[in-house]
Each structure stands twice: as structure tokens, then as C-alpha cells.
Amino acid sequence: MSQEIMAAPSTTLNKDRLLELYSRMLTIREFEEKAQDLYSRTLIPGLLHSSVGQEAVAVGVCAALRDDDYIASTHRGHGHCIAKGADIGRMFAELFGKAEGYCRGKGGSMHIANQAVGNLGANAIVGGNIPIVTGAALSAKMRATDQVAVSFFGDGALNQGILLESMNMAAIWSLPVIYACENNHYGEYTPMELVTAGDIKQRGTSLGIASEVVDGNDVLEVYRATMEAVDRGRRGGGPTFLIFNTYRYYGHGMSDRDRPYRSRDEEKEWRESRDPLDRFAARLIDAGHMTPSEKDRIHTDVTGLITRGVEFGTRSPFPDPDEVLKHVYAD
């Protein structure tokens, strides 16, 4: 099994990195669980969209990126932020609307940006980040760096016209951009198939863009596919469209409790047979990369990280009221 994990050259990851992938996924899951808990206790205001179930996409994609590569994210964006290297404390601070949050409390859950690691920000307009990330790729190309840029979006964004416009420009200009579609099969309360025509992959191939459907719950598959896309981008080979099949375990947002639009059986099937963390943990253990006690330590570490993050966020002061007028314009 060990060999299998290491099979493709681009996916060769040593034990440390493999454990890190696991640890990152777990961090996202624990972060989301804690955030939902805090929300239920009205400690987080506004809107909250959990990415539990989708951790492998965020982690697998970002593991293939450098710090200076770009990403931008969505309303369901905590995982992407964490995977790209955000500090948990500053993230909680942002969710609380605190001064030490990534956006000084001005953005909140749907708008976390983190310039230090190329996170151009989460975006609350479905599809809104797609041209922006494509523009970052254009910029990378013009500046002759070998940076790549990743746009995360959901299956719902497949039907926003801006996707066509952006992908077309990326294709004609051979831009180093990766369109990372997280297909969790629902856009809010509407099943994807009901509102999405044709074979999704062809939205890329029809424009001559290398496209692939990937098991988004297998972090190594995500990593492998992304590495290929990153290589293509850095080599000047142009854009890639990756469709990651995955599932969100909870409701669309915190008010979506009953989820009448899908069955409990379907949820159970994803949770029990295809959970990205369970599957990866089992594989790591089988392959001898992780011992049960290492797993325990990771869990303990992550719990500590989350606890300290919440503490940091809690301690952080609210922004000064005057802050409201700051940053409307840059100097």
C-alpha cells in the first residue's frame, strides 16, 4: 500500500507531508465544527457555510501550491483559507468580527483574504472570483513569474456566464489558472442535475481546456490532479479545469436544518463510505505511515490549535468604531 500512495512521481509525498495533509483536513473539520457550535451559541453573527465533508479538496489543491501562488474562494471558504496557510486564531477573530481578524472584522466568514499567502479572498457572489483569479494568472504571466492561480467555486457557479468569459480568455491567452469546481451536487437547496445541462467536464474541453473529473474525497487524487495542473500552468501550458466530486455534510448554511431536498440515506452513504478523513486515515495506517498513537497526537494537536484559536479570537478586541470609515480608499 505504501507504494501505491507514492505511485505517480508528482504525488510523491514523504511521511511528514502525508501526515500534514491529514492534520490539515482535520483542522478544517474541527474548525468548521467549532464555528457551527459558536454560531449556535450566537457568538458568531451573520451567515455561516460549513465545508465539512469537502476537506480533501481544499487540502489536496493547496498542498500542490506555493505560498506565492494565488487562490480565491467562496462563501464556503474556511477550508481553502486554512489549507492555504491561514492562522486559526485570526480566522476565528474574523468570524467574531474582531480587530485582529484577517479583515479587521470587516469581511467576516464570506470574505476572508490573506495577502501574505496569496489568498485573494473569499467571495460571496457565486462565480465572482472566477475572473479575478483569471486576472491574477494574467498578471503572473505578464510579470513572468511562474505563479499559478486557483479559483475555487461550487457546482452552482457552473451556470454563471462569467465562467465562460473567463475560461475563454484563459484559453486564448494560455493563462496559468486552475478552475477548481467543488461539485457537492447541490446549490443551496437545488440538486445540481436539475439546473445544469450536459456533461460538466465539457464546459472546459469545449474551450480546449484540459479537464478532469476527480474524486474530491481522495486527498491524494486531488493532489495528483492539481499537481498536473500546476505543472501545466508553470510550464506555460495554460489553464486546467478540475471537477472535484464531493459532498457537504451539513446544510447549505446554518438555517438549513432539515435538508428536505436530499435523503438521509444519501448523506449516510457519503459520510460512512466516502469520508475524506476516515478514508485517508485508514490508508495511512494500512500503509504504515501513521500509527494509531500518531493519529491520536494529531487529533490532540488539532484540538489544541482550535481551542487556542477560539481563545485568541475571543480575546481579540472589537474594532474601534472609527474603523468603519477606514479603508474605503487606499492611499
Binding site: G97, G105, I125, G128, N159, G187, T190, V195, F318, V324
Partner: protein, 333 residues
């Protein structure tokens, strides 16, 4: 003050739902389309029950394609249907302004009056939900700026139902703004058996008064009424008047009120600069000039992207305290 003060109490959301339900029953050409409006009954449950009552042809879940939704609705409106398109958040108007402003607004005129556009676009406005900069705006001024559109801002369940019925029956594109913080607010509305509709272009005096006129729209009507109540305790008698529609704007009633009171505050939840308060203040300033004892005072949303943090967001929306303070300044006591 046409709003009833007794009878059946329902929420703003229910009022809107009833208006759609009744009009769909009355006229088979009325239909509803939008994201999650059918099976889920809408994100705010505004369209609840419509799918069961009218079936999936007339209550359509769409893809997340706001420009497409609007354009399709327009094409249907030009060819015998009377669509009600829901744009989930008013902020998303940015995606559909071409279809609204360049297309829907101009079809009747450009075609020399041959095509009509009986189209309603329902959308939201209003901050306060900690939904941050892209889900909190009140962009009514954008559409009010465009000739050919009608723009409606109801402030009570009664008004919402009556104005939405008028919107659905109107042969022009109507943009209907619903303050999302108001959906659960209750108010008296006549029994469904009592048919009524509220004409466009008639301001509604929500409170009569003699010392100062507060012109307020949508969510700000309650803010104005709250302020007026406190002012009354202090001996300042404020008139609160709600234009109900920005286009057509009942300039005469607004001007008459100010001529009577000699002082005026305009409160609206859109950004203040180049917003609805500007137009209304300019109209008053020009037409009640010789009756004004003090400058018209405008109060819109603070001119900043709407911040997430409650301590910041709360400062951006006009509130009763601020209105009271402004009234004191204008009245001079």
C-alpha cells in the same frame, strides 16, 4: 394612513406570498422563477406553497444565472406572460443591470410602444443582518435612475401586498425591493376575500404632524416612526411620509407636506451619496424652497462598503437616535 389598524395580522413575508398566490390564481399568465423558489419555497420562504398550488411549469427553480433569469423573464413578458423573477439579494443587481436597464426598461420605448413588458423583479435590500458588503446593499437608486422602470419600496405587510399586486398587474418592468429585516415583522392586512391593490405614485402619510416632515422609505419608515414617537414626547410633532414608489415619485404630496411643516429630513437605507435621499432632497429643495425654514437634511447609509462586524455595521444605518438629533437641529429645539 391607509394601513388598517386592526384585523388579521400577518408577516411581511406572508403578505408578499399572498399577493403572488392570489395573482397567480387570478391570472394564468403570471408565473414565478428564481433560485430555490419552487421546491424549497425560497430562501426566505416567500414562495412557499406556490409550487404545490401551481405546479412546476409556473413555479420554476432556476440555475444560479441572474442575468439569464432576468433576460428570460423579459422575453416571456414580451410574449404573453407576466413573470415574477426573484433575484435573491438586491446586491446581485450588479449582474443583471444590462437586462434590466438596457433591455427591459427600453423595450417599450425603443419599439415605438409596440411591445409591453409586464415584468416584476422581486429582490431584497437592507443591512443589519451581518451579511457583509455583498449581501446588504440597498441599490434602489440604480434602477430609479433609469427611465422605463418603476421602483417600489413597501414598508408594511399591508403595503407590500397591495403594491405587489399592482406591480404584477402593471404593464411595465417593476423592481420591487423587500427589506429582508422586515420579513418577519407583522402588520394588519385585510382578509384574503377583501381584494385591494395600492396604486403607484401615491405617497402614504404614516403619521401626520406639523413641525417637521420625515420622508422615509422601506425599512426607514419604522425608524422615522420610532423617532417621531420620541419627538412627540418632547413636543415636536413630526409627519412621517412614505413615497412607496420612487418611480413614479409622488412629488406633490412630499412637497405639500414640507410646505406645511417647513422642515424636512429624508431617510433611506441606500448609500447616501448619489442615492435616493439626493433626489428627494433636491425635489424638495427646488419646489418647497420658499417654505423651508431650514435646509433639507439627508440621512442615507454611510458611504462605506457595509462592514461585517456588528459594531461597525450598526453605525452605517440611520437609526431613530440620529433622526431625533437631526430633527432637533432643524427645529432648533
Amino acid at each position: 394612513m391607509s394601513t388598517p389598524t386592526e384585523g388579521r395580522e400577518i408577516t411581511f413575508a406572508q403578505a408578499i406570498n399572498e399577493a403572488m398566490h392570489e395573482e397567480m390564481q387570478r391570472d394564468p399568465s403570471v408565473f414565478v422563477l428564481g433560485e430555490d423558489v419552487a421546491a424549497a419555497g425560497g430562501v426566505y420562504k416567500l414562495t412557499r406553497g406556490l409550487l404545490d398550488a401551481f405546479g412546476p411549469e409556473r413555479v420554476r427553480d432556476t440555475p444560479i444565472s441572474e442575468a439569464g433569469i432576468t433576460g428570460l423573464a423579459l422575453g416571456a413578458a414580451m410574449t404573453g406572460m407576466r413573470p415574477i423573477a426573484e433575484i435573491m439579494f438586491g446586491d446581485f443587481l450588479g449582474l443583471v443591470m444590462d437586462q434590466i436597464a438596457n433591455q427591459a426598461a427600453k423595450v417599450h420605448y425603443m419599439s415605438g410602444g409596440t411591445f409591453n413588458v409586464p415584468l416584476v423583479i422581486r429582490t431584497t435590500m437592507g443591512a443589519g443582518r451581518r451579511a457583509a458588503a455583498q449581501h446588504s446593499q440597498s441599490l434602489c437608486a440604480w434602477v430609479a435612475h433609469i427611465p422605463g422602470l418603476k421602483v417600489v419600496l413597501p414598508s408594511t405587510p399591508y403595503d407590500a401586498k397591495g403594491l405587489l399586486k399592482t406591480a404584477i398587474r402593471d404593464n411595465n418592468p417593476v423592481i420591487f425591493f423587500e427589506d429582508k429585516m422586515m420579513y418577519q415583522k407583522k402588520g394588519f392586512v385585510p382578509d384574503p376575500s377583501v381584494e385591494y391593490a395600492i396604486p403607484f405614485g401615491k405617497a402614504d402619510v404614516k403619521r401626520t404632524g406639523t413641525d417637521i416632515t420625515i420622508i422615509a422609505t422601506s425599512s426607514m419608515v419604522q425608524v422615522a416612526l420610532d423617532a417621531a414617537e420620541e419627538l412627540a414626547r418632547e413636543g415636536i410633532d413630526a409627519e412621517v411620509i412614505d413615497p412607496q414608489t420612487l418611480t413614479p415619485l409622488d412629488e406633490a404630496s412630499l412637497i405639500d407636506s414640507v410646505k406645511k411643516t417647513s422642515r424636512c429630513i429624508v431617510v433611506d437605507e441606500g448609500y447616501q451619496r448619489f442615492g435616493a435621499t439626493a433626489e428627494i432632497a433636491a425635489v424638495i429643495g427646488e419646489n418647497a424652497f420658499y417654505h423651508l425654514d431650514a435646509p433639507v437634511h439627508r440621512m442615507g447609509a454611510m458611504d462605506v462598503p457595509i462592514p461585517f462586524s456588528p459594531i461597525l455595521e450598526d453605525q452605517t444605518i440611520p437609526n431613530p437616535t440620529a433622526v431625533i438629533k437631526a430633527a432637533h437641529t432643524l427645529v432648533g429645539r
